[in-house]
């Protein structure tokens, strides 16, 4: 597959890096220095130029390209690039945008702007944050099948009643499947007799309600959080507050820039906007940030986020969520006391991956680095599942493939060994890291 990536910033470079082993990748960037760096660092063709210029795209071979990924920092540039790409050829075009308004317009009409798929990085990050804080012990979560199915990764605390139970004992929820346990960085495929230990990360797939019920089984003493403090009113902080407002929360939002704070206060009627420096300890004490259920840090850089969340935790906040820009910092953050580190870049990478993994993966979620993936696949006649029961199909697949949920005409079907999979069903499956490429092709 020939892939053209416009914009070689961190997102563009990350995508280029992950695709370059299996595909022909051409990268376009306006900055000659970056072009030179890429030429030497990655096995890609790097071209200096403007992605919105048809001549540049022709030079990159837009006529033969299968995919065009516009991932610059500028929304308009990305949209114009996709539009220009549609003139020069017929690639599947993906635009990365920051402002959700473009996404909302595009969702109205999937051909809008000549964009085939649009990813709103900051909205994705906000959705992840909001999903995670709704479930007190969740580490990660993603939705599939238009929200009917949810993948959630829970960390089992030491004092949890679930710790020490077998999977069979813990799985009291009808529409929930235990698909994976990550223990000391190793993937364990759960069987009925597998014991869940404190410190394990348990990955479950099922309806959002059952995920919530399991969440309270893990930590029965913890209610749904009420007092949420967001530090940093950038796009992610703003989108998080918007989503929280829609879910009935009345969050507090701290922003240091007076104009931005004013703008936020006008846009967010149910949020209390506070204009202050988030690391001002006197302010944090005065506003009782220590009594917050969740502190979310969405400031400009990773250092500030780390500082703000640790300060919040030190003052007594129950839970701290930090946005982390540099993907590799995520584990470090969680090691020093941040409960959840959310990476917008990782979320974007996951979204882009769904179009490069086989021809019909509808949705992909990456679990714990790339130890495993959760895939949503629409079953066609060629699939290993078509017209067979899960037990029969599983015999032909590696051990680390677990079917988590099936939706038939939008309705959730709880998968059992003898469940017959029909053509047209959507299957959400957990696939261990070693077999991803091999398995996706057969689903």
């Amino acid at each position: 597959m020939r892939v053209i990536i416009v914009g070689a910033g961190e997102v563009g470079s990350t995508i280029a890096e992950s695709l370059s082993s299996a595909h022909d990748v051409v990268v376009i960037d306006v900055d000659p220095d970056r072009v030179e760096t890429l030429t030497y660092e990655l096995d890609v063709l790097a071209i200096q130029g403007d992605g919105g210029d048809l001549e540049t795209l022709r030079e990159a071979g837009i006529g033969e390209a299968d995919m065009l990924i516009a991932s610059t920092d500028d929304d308009q540039t990305n949209i114009v690039t996709c539009g220009t790409g549609a003139v020069g050829g017929d690639p599947f075009s993906i635009a990365r945008v920051k402002r959700p308004q473009y996404l909302h317009t595009w969702e109205r009409d999937n051909r809008a702007f000549g964009v085939d798929f649009m990813i709103c990085t900051d909205l994705l990050a906000a959705q992840t944050i909001v999903g995670v804080i709704g479930l007190p012990t969740a580490q990660d979560m993603d939705t599939f099948c238009d929200g009917a199915v949810q993948m959630t990764e829970f960390e089992i605390p030491a004092d949890s009643p679930v710790a020490g139970q077998t999977v069979q004992e813990a799985d009291r929820f009808d529409s929930l499947t235990f698909v994976g346990i990550i223990r000391e960085s190793e993937l364990v495929v759960p069987k009925g007799a597998t014991t869940i230990e404190a410190g394990d990360d348990v990955v479950v797939i099922g309806s959002p309600e059952s995920a919530r019920a399991f969440s309270s089984a893990i930590a029965p003493q913890e209610d749904r959080p009420r007092d949420v403090v967001i530090v940093g009113g950038g796009e992610i902080g703003y989108q998080t507050a918007t989503l929280l407002e829609q879910r009935g929360f009345t969050p507090r939002l701290v922003e240091h820039d007076p104009d931005r704070a004013r703008w936020l206060a006008e846009k967010l009627p149910k949020t209390t906007v506070l204009e202050s420096d988030a690391t001002d300890r006197g302010f944090l004490e005065r506003e009782n940030v220590g009594s917050a259920d969740v502190v979310i840090a969405a400031l400009e850089n990773d250092q500030q986020n780390l500082l703000a969340t640790l300060l919040g935790k030190r003052l007594g906040a129950q839970r701290a969520v930090a946005v982390v820009d540099t993907v590799t910092f995520a584990e470090l953050f969680e090691a020093v006391g941040v409960d959840v580190a959310v990476s917008p870049r990782e979320a974007t990478a996951e979204e882009i991956t769904r179009f490069t993994r086989g021809r019909h993966a509808e949705n992909v979620s990456i679990v714990e680095g790339d130890r495993a993936e959760v895939l949503e696949v629409e079953i066609d006649e060629d699939s290993v599942f078509a017209g067979r029961t899960i037990v029969d199909a599983a015999a032909d697949l590696p051990d680390q493939v677990v079917v988590g949920a099936i939706t038939r005409q939008g309705e959730l079907v709880v998968p059992r060994g003898d469940t017959l999979v029909e053509v047209g069903d959507h299957v959400v499956a957990f696939v261990g890291g070693d077999h991803i490429e091999q398995v996706t092709a057969r689903l």
């Binding site: 701290v254 704070a261 004013r262 936020l264 206060a265 006008e266 009627p269 209390t272 906007v273 506070l274 204009e275 202050s276 302010f283 506003e287």
Partner: protein, 530 residues
């Protein structure tokens, strides 16, 4: 002022010729509404020279002023001068029929109202300004068709109708030369925090407002006359129906009857209440309703506040009256304690009349107990909605003020919090918030200063005024309400004040109608020079 100084013309930065020229245009067209009293005079076979001469006068003065500047080019400053000047000029021309009727033309025509109190030019100007500003304060003394012609009394009603939706708004609706600077002119004239452009063209917006205004007026006239035909209102003849229709929708309050609405049956009183409520509502809401957006009314924060405050005040006043808060006044406008219908009607009518700044009365509230009187005095500061024909401070400003106070209380404990002021979800600009606070403070300061001035002026000539009376005189004129307390009651008159006080009140009515700033700005030297 530099205008009069030797180097005046060089330092004046206001193109006053343009302003006066446009004032002239408006005066010229004032000849058209003067046709109504002329027609009434012909119908009742009265001496029509009063209005023929007035038409001639306004045409000559108007055309003369218009010639000052053949190509008027209206800027922001000229706009203020034009609006303020128009209202003063229209009030002055409006006084001409009163003077002609009182004095006649020596050697040619005999006066039609020889002993009229309006023979004094100050009184005539007061009555006329009270008319166009829809105040409804009167010093006509004996209001009676025996003393005044039908034509003069209908002119008195018509001045209120013209002033109600705004003379400038009417001018914008029909005069194409005003369409460019129109929005700014309307802003200077229209009551409330800002204008709402309903349609892309300002002239169309002005037309929409006047059509709605006209339609409600016509409906009320038909209903009132319908009651008469149905036998439920013996004295609500065609003349009275038109006369009261003309002063309800502008929240005016003039009546050709000495006893205001107390002269009519309970049925008439009940019919007038909803029309007063309509008059105090933002007319932009009716536009939304006519276009099928019925929900807009219920969602509108100001309308809810407006309806809410009237309901609360009615309930309180109704309770006071029911428990005997007003002495029985014989058979006219009496409040009957213990009678539910009577207490409810008197309470709702008076509350709606005062809050909307109409000034009609069905009972002589100047004779009520202190509780009722003070309630009505403070109700005079509430006012109708922005974009209505009502005067005073207005509901929308009070809503903003309440929210500002709540914000202050909140930020006392959360000093870093940023709280925009919202009305029904919409953020109110901080400049507008400051404008509201400034206006309200100015309004209250002018109220206080004018109250003192009027008391001093009364003491100068030995006229005794009590506190409530002097406060009500200012509140009722500045707020364009009309009647006050003491001898200024709804069935009383402002006649006893000295001329100096009357001129001050003329100023208060003028400034109050234009919401103070467009008038006050003319008194600053910065407006004229820099």
């Amino acid at each position: 002022m530099s205008l009069l100084g030797p180097a005046g013309n060089r330092s004046v930065r206001v193109d006053w010729r343009t302003s006066l020229s446009l004032v002239g245009t408006v005066l010229k067209y004032l000849a058209v509404p003067l046709g109504l009293p002329l027609l009434v005079g012909i119908i009742y076979r009265e001496a029509i020279y009063v209005f023929l001469l007035t038409v001639l006068f306004t045409m000559v003065v108007g055309t003369g002023l218009e010639r000052l500047e053949p190509e008027p080019d209206l800027g922001a400053r000229e706009g203020f001068l034009m609006v303020a000047g128009t209202w003063l000029a229209v009030a002055a021309v409006g006084a001409v029929p009163y003077l002609l009727a009182a004095h006649g033309v020596p050697g040619l025509f005999a006066p039609t109202a020889p002993a009229s109190t309006l023979a004094n030019p100050v009184n005539a100007l007061f009555e006329s300004m009270s008319g166009v500003t829809t105040t409804g304060a009167t010093l006509l003394g004996e209001i009676s068709l025996d003393r005044h012609s039908h034509a003069v009394l209908i002119w008195r009603q018509l001045t209120q109708w013209l002033g109600g939706m705004g003379i400038i708004v009417l001018a914008i609706a029909i005069l194409p030369e005003l369409s460019v600077g129109g929005a700014q002119l309307m802003d200077a004239e229209a009551p409330g925090v800002g204008i709402e452009k309903l349609t892309p063209r300002i002239a169309e917006t002005a037309r929409v407002l006047w059509i709605a205004y006209f339609a409600f007026t016509a409906l009320e006239i038909v209903l009132l006359y319908g009651l008469h035909l149905a036998g439920m209102a013996p004295n609500m003849n065609a003349y009275n129906a038109v006369a009261h229709g003309l002063t309800t929708l502008p929240t005016g309050g003039f009546s050709p009857e000495a006893d205001s609405i107390a002269a009519f049956s309970a049925a008439v009183q009940w019919v007038i209440v909803p029309f007063m409520v309509v008059a105090g509502t933002n007319f932009a809401l009716f536009y939304a309703v006519f276009r099928g957006n019925l929900g807009k009314m219920g969602e509108d924060a100001e309308f809810r506040g407006y309806a809410g405050i009237m309901a609360v005040l009615t309930a309180i006043l109704g309770g006071v009256l029911f428990l005997g808060g007003a002495p029985p006044l014989g058979d006219l406008g009496g409040v009957v304690a213990g009678d539910v219908e009577n207490s409810a009607r008197q309470a709702v009518f008076q509350v709606v009349s005062i809050v909307t700044t109409t000034g009609y009365a069905t009972s002589d509230f100047a004779e009520w107990s202190e509780a009722g009187k003070y309630l009505l005095l403070f109700a005079m500061f509430i006012g109708g909605s922005g974009g209505s024909t009502g005067g005073s401070i207005k509901i929308i400003r009070w809503l903003v003020i309440i929210k500002v106070v709540r914000r202050e209380l909140f930020t006392t404990t959360h000093p870093e919090a940023i709280r925009p002021i919202r009305l029904a979800g919409e953020v109110v600009d901080e400049d507008a918030v400051r404008g509201v606070m400034g206006f309200t403070l100015l309004y209250l300061v002018i109220f206080a200063v004018a109250t003192v001035l009027i008391s001093l002026d009364a003491a100068r000539i030995g006229y005794t005024l009590d506190t409530l009376e002097s406060m009500s005189a200012v509140a009722a004129t500045l707020g364009n309400v009309g009647p006050g307390f003491g001898s200024l009651g709804p069935f009383g008159s402002y006649l006893a004040f000295p001329n100096s006080s009357k001129l001050l009140m003329v100023f208060l009515m003028w400034a109050g109608r234009l919401e103070i700033l467009p008038v006050l700005v003319l008194l600053t030297s910065g407006y004229w020079r820099s």
